[in-house]
Symmetry: C3
Subunit: 664 residues, 3 copies
Amino acid sequence: MKIRYGGDYNPEQWPKEVWEEDHRLFDEARIDTLTVGVFTWALTQPAPDVYDFTTLDRIVERAAAAGRGICLATGTGAHPAWMARAHPSVTRTDFEGRRHRFGQRHNSCPSSPEFRRLSAEMARRIARRYAGHPAIVAWHVGNEYGGACYCDLCAAGFRDWLRSRYGSLSALNAAWYTTFWSHTFTGWDEIEPPNALTEHWRGPDHTAFQGITLDYLRFMSDAMLANYCDEKAAVRESDPDTPVTTNFMGLYRPIDYHRWAPHLDFASWDNYPPDDRSPARMALAHDLTRGLKDGQPFWLMEQTPSVTACRDVNPLKRPGVMRLWSWQAVAHGADAVLFFQMRAGRGASEKYHGAVIGHAGRSDTRVFREISSLGTELERLGAATLGARTPARVALLFDWDSWWALEISDGPSRLVKYLDVVTTHHRALWQLGADVDVLPVTASLDAYDVVVAPALHMVKGDLASRLSAVAERGGTVLTTFLSGRVDEDDNAFLADVPGPLGPLFGVRVDEWDAREPDYVNPVTIGDETFASRLLFELVIPQGATVVGTYGADFYAGTAAVTRNDVGAGQAWYIGAGLDPGGVERVIREVLAGHGLLGPCAGLHDVETATRVAPDGTAFLFVLNHNPEPVVLPPLDGVDLLTGEPPGTLGPHGVLILTTEAAGR
Amino acid sequence: MKIRYGGDYNPEQWPKEVWEEDHRLFDEARIDTLTVGVFTWALTQPAPDVYDFTTLDRIVERAAAAGRGICLATGTGAHPAWMARAHPSVTRTDFEGRRHRFGQRHNSCPSSPEFRRLSAEMARRIARRYAGHPAIVAWHVGNEYGGACYCDLCAAGFRDWLRSRYGSLSALNAAWYTTFWSHTFTGWDEIEPPNALTEHWRGPDHTAFQGITLDYLRFMSDAMLANYCDEKAAVRESDPDTPVTTNFMGLYRPIDYHRWAPHLDFASWDNYPPDDRSPARMALAHDLTRGLKDGQPFWLMEQTPSVTACRDVNPLKRPGVMRLWSWQAVAHGADAVLFFQMRAGRGASEKYHGAVIGHAGRSDTRVFREISSLGTELERLGAATLGARTPARVALLFDWDSWWALEISDGPSRLVKYLDVVTTHHRALWQLGADVDVLPVTASLDAYDVVVAPALHMVKGDLASRLSAVAERGGTVLTTFLSGRVDEDDNAFLADVPGPLGPLFGVRVDEWDAREPDYVNPVTIGDETFASRLLFELVIPQGATVVGTYGADFYAGTAAVTRNDVGAGQAWYIGAGLDPGGVERVIREVLAGHGLLGPCAGLHDVETATRVAPDGTAFLFVLNHNPEPVVLPPLDGVDLLTGEPPGTLGPHGVLILTTEAAGR
Amino acid sequence: MKIRYGGDYNPEQWPKEVWEEDHRLFDEARIDTLTVGVFTWALTQPAPDVYDFTTLDRIVERAAAAGRGICLATGTGAHPAWMARAHPSVTRTDFEGRRHRFGQRHNSCPSSPEFRRLSAEMARRIARRYAGHPAIVAWHVGNEYGGACYCDLCAAGFRDWLRSRYGSLSALNAAWYTTFWSHTFTGWDEIEPPNALTEHWRGPDHTAFQGITLDYLRFMSDAMLANYCDEKAAVRESDPDTPVTTNFMGLYRPIDYHRWAPHLDFASWDNYPPDDRSPARMALAHDLTRGLKDGQPFWLMEQTPSVTACRDVNPLKRPGVMRLWSWQAVAHGADAVLFFQMRAGRGASEKYHGAVIGHAGRSDTRVFREISSLGTELERLGAATLGARTPARVALLFDWDSWWALEISDGPSRLVKYLDVVTTHHRALWQLGADVDVLPVTASLDAYDVVVAPALHMVKGDLASRLSAVAERGGTVLTTFLSGRVDEDDNAFLADVPGPLGPLFGVRVDEWDAREPDYVNPVTIGDETFASRLLFELVIPQGATVVGTYGADFYAGTAAVTRNDVGAGQAWYIGAGLDPGGVERVIREVLAGHGLLGPCAGLHDVETATRVAPDGTAFLFVLNHNPEPVVLPPLDGVDLLTGEPPGTLGPHGVLILTTEAAGR
């Protein structure tokens, strides 16, 4: 038992002699796991009445013969061309209202009865054939679910979903506030999917009716979840035990992963960061993925060994970076490190995507050498970290509803993005070395000393009281501008801002100002001053202590940051779009108050993360994301990889220290 | 009798107990007028055969009981969802040729027979029910007419409109110059609306056939005017007297307000400037609105008390700004100051739009306090300014045809925008304190000493001779580059540029140069030098005196600005895209020559405006648009609001001095 | 016999009295050639069954009477309105899948049977009527072929084209690599045109399946070629001899002019450069056009005398520039210098386009004077240069397949544009005074000392061995990054990069880095350092000598530019996106090695070009593209235009020196 290592493998694209070479190179690189069949629908069902598993049989048998585990896909991530021709309903209708024809991938309408029937049948047949095969270690349903469809079948599905949610049109009219702009619906069939031909002005975020658009986002996420569940159920008919997953995409807006998570046996995700300067963002996505299944280890299902292809500009991963990011995944809870792709395809849109084996088939390249070297390291580590958990005492709340509601809102500022606010706050926690669980707003908060809830635009259920309870028992709660604005239906609270959060934070906000990005209002906290931008709430303390004040405009001298004493704890409110330095200033004070600053808290882009194995052994991962070496502070333990004590950590260097878990 | 104060009120969105609270707060703020029912079609006609005025009755009665006047809307600004389902023709087809389904607002096809029938019937029934009610002070038809439709019904309507305009296809072919690009039409039904599927390349301004696009703009404006007239006629069946209006949008390109104006009993408009740095632009829109009805006072139908919601960034009106802008409206001729909205809606796309009463219902906010305070001031002013007129001796010509023709033209520069040229010239007049009437090109020019006609691209009818007459009798006429280019059909004059204006201005233009925005050609006038940009006409004097010369390029030293002596007067020609300083330099000389410089002509962003009441009393409004105080020059009279003599005027301060009208 | 002078003439837009004035002014300007009838379809076929040549007869006779030659168009560049109404299939369906209605020009679906039948019939009838008329000097088929259609008829045509190309679906599936993403086609009718509704994400370059999109580009170019051939064949029925052409657009991506060239009797093109700072780019387009017909002289079919109209900003050609650019065309092989347009139209989208005769009809304008003056010069030159050839010893390979394949590729960088790479290399050759033949990759390379093949992304047929042969016999070959990547089907070579070019260049590339445009990696060559941007290949010499090395990043010190000794010659490889200075540094060394530096090689924006007449007389054109005078180095001969020896050359000045051809 060890961390799984390998990735997406498509030998159906190659002649048999290449397969032999593949397995020779896999051995050389210590590859033990292959994801097979992600886009094989046209192969396994070449015609309406023909199912043909000949090639897939050979692939599975050859991999099994080499002793490798197989993550077997149902292959429904793209439908075959014949299916689009025979059943036009399987294709999607886009935001512009245009029915698509065959092309691309992730191209199936989630509401199409033919797609639902045929995809489930494919999953059923694959599972029936391969269930019980000793090489099968997991089932991989679909692929990177996402996008949206706006066809008439989806419209009908939406109406059913609404009927089920609201029961009556009057409840729906109330929730959507349809008295506004003469929108009262008097028949279910009057309701249209919100898109460029109905409610939207300028793209998916610019809607005339927030409630409709919000519910369509919820519906579409649920509709695709139903597709996943169709296939999972079909797999379970033959295989009651082998874990089933699908690969998520981290911080992906269209799918509410929290609603999906209960239906996965373990979580997995594909890590393609937008650039090479975002280690904290990757950490956030890892923490979010781990939080989907209550801290259970996840799989890093895909990453590129070298370059992506789909970006306008595809930079090369620098030497050591692929290794560093792989260990980062492990540090945050991954029990598998997989690549896309094992061998570079010759044609179409991913031919320039990085691969374990390139077009020339060489093993003497830098990239292959780094892959082999990591394979050796993972083998050396063995089972040590398998099943280990993160002992976080900090929770960060992440909420798709708030994400959606904030970004589809008209006013106060389309420039305020949910992820920007969340990542700024998470990055401060990350830079300061706190282990963080990223959780849905429904999660229990009992285990945490600190709960950070950036841009908690929508407040649902008993969340306000659960946050208060954290503070009452001595914890610290922190939220920001644009929190506590709307209820579950995106209707404003008829109360002072921040609505039900007001008593906890001890503030009231009557006015807020939004400015263009080049405008800066300096905020002074103690003897330091930080820039704030985009949004400025005029915070009126209602019991809270003023911690930071604006430096400019007619509200100069008034509160921008406050702290409220509540029971044994505190509630912080950040009312301005503080820059990262300002946020780190506040977060540092909060963490320090709970003794939660990490051992490398002062070191720029040096990350620490802790995992504790089932037997109690703690691992402190120290990751240097800088291209320069760093001198570490004194740390206990020795490096599992080298047996050496810590000292200077090289560029993109990694240490795994066995020591007691920092947070316990 | 006093200036009306209040705004858009939607109690149908609220339970009855809120209504009581509303009226309590309205009393507190001295609100006397409510605009009711702007989007109530789904309420008053909940089904094809059901008209239900129960709620509207209650709203009207409650307002009347409180002694407030009601501006009652016909409620047709958005059609109900059932109507879009029952009659798809009521929805619009957009510029991309896509039939829309139900959504948004201002969503009705102007050519739909069902929309025309049902909207007129709604207006008929509302008027029948409420005509004669003592609380009704005005009828508000539709709402912010605008946009466009490109459906087959509009295509048919367009063909009818063309038949009526041209009589024959040969006349149409001549007007549109269809010999070009094989465009000769041999049947009326070959004519298509010009859009993305026919004549347009890149959006509404980029057409292959200017004549077709120009006529479609004219047709569409007329088609919506017909909608307005449908409803007005229906109202007049029951109520022959109460004034009827619709709310315009100031400098709004799609609708030719000059063609609409005869059909309104008084003009009104909604003031939502693009930013908070545009006092002159608002003044221009006020002057334009006043000019629609020959100087008669108008209503400021909407403004936000605090923030908008529909912008990407929605800044807050600073303290004093709402008051300042309200008085600016009065200074330019408003007899009503109204807000959108009286109470903030809870949901949909305007929930974050500013309101007199916010979600928390407080009266102890800065915004409510400023509203109440202005209410008190307006009450104090009473009837003093009602019906007062602006004694302008300067006219600025504003022409939708020139606006359209200039901006849909291929060449010489898409970067030259009609409004930019107009606002630059108007701003100079404004900054220098001249009262200005903004007029259609058909207006009599007899009353004016100065006539400014920026970018008078199209010259129609006898305009050239009327302009000449102004100069002949001692007045001054001014025009700019890109004037006198085309006739009413957008065909170039077969003459030297500026066509029929050539003799008046004494110049000829054989060549013109257009450059990217970063290129500057300095223009020297006297001993001053100003930047010019975008467009540079090579002006060849034909009798005119050279006033300004280019400083660069192969035409350095040649004429950029000229002055021609004509009869007892003068005609100025500005051939280059002069910067605001250069334009102000020229305008100052022109105004000074007629003794028309205002009393604060030297003070940056200090505005003066005069109104003269029917009894001859003159009011000089002095408005400080700066966020700093200014020391005023000596001015006669005392401030009507405070009874004090003028001196220093505070940030965003306002004075209303009673004195003799400056221009008489 | 002399260089033809004139241009597009549309008297059908004018009354007869204007025609007389036209010919008077043509005489004054020495106009001898008129292109007639380019957009006359609606005139010559005003109804389905009516052909009417009355007006065209008069135009031809009037021009003939004046002794002018006529380039007679078939007039099919835009279909009549009645045709779009009667046969909707003649209109195009755009990339978004939308069927267009009547409008614009160049608006016909190439696959429409009605368009094909009717356009051929029009060509047939025009040729039948005017064939043999002594004034007819050439046939002008269609106009500026281009754009694309995506209708169902084109889909059917595409499938036929594919059947013919691949023979079987299995061959097609292999070529398109359809095993990827479940794309295997099992029926021809499953194949859809690649557009926004099928394979494309963000516009025409962003496809999921490169092979499909590449073949559609090839198909569409061939489909329009078939339209051209339809009409040419119809002309040939009546006129076996008079040359037939169509006007190309220089560096125009959608049409593979190399595939069209065999079907033209002579090449011609319309020169509308993107700005006035691109003399080298125009030279490249001239060289490309000349290369289409193996060096045979071509026509400059259109240029503006003064301004364009279709650009956002349309600057004026400075004094002397029209003359300079006209002579540049002649210097590169033009035997005709023609304008668009002879008289400025009054209406529609080209009314502001420059013309020989403007709206005022004056001959005393700067522009008309320059036109007359050039007419006199051309008359003075007479037949001297007619039929002369360019004695180039440098070839530059230009390949539409590489252009398409590179720019539709996913990865490594969408910012690398084929034309940017080509123009950077051509500009260095141009600045250094080398005469260059721009050739298809299929051309014989035997005549050249130097072959430059920038961004030779696709390597087809025996090209690699033909390039090797150049080096073997002592020539120099040069290529760049992103060359040798794919085969004719756009599938990656299963070999080290640069694929079949590897042995010739003696390098191997395992990795490449792409960076944002603001990132610069300095490359040192000898004691000079140049910037490189966008793309950086990590070049591993396999026999080649390192000439330039990277200065930054983890590959600092490794090879960026190499030179390989092969037989008696050399092969240069530029692995980085070198700036123009760096490329010029390398090209200078290459040219110097072959004694090919031009006589003005050191003078910025001074161009030299040589033509050798059939009688052996050589002409050295010296063109000063600077707005300042330049002092020339000593040059032999005297100026044909002035009879003076060369010395200082004025701003935008031109010399034509008779001397022995430089390269012989």
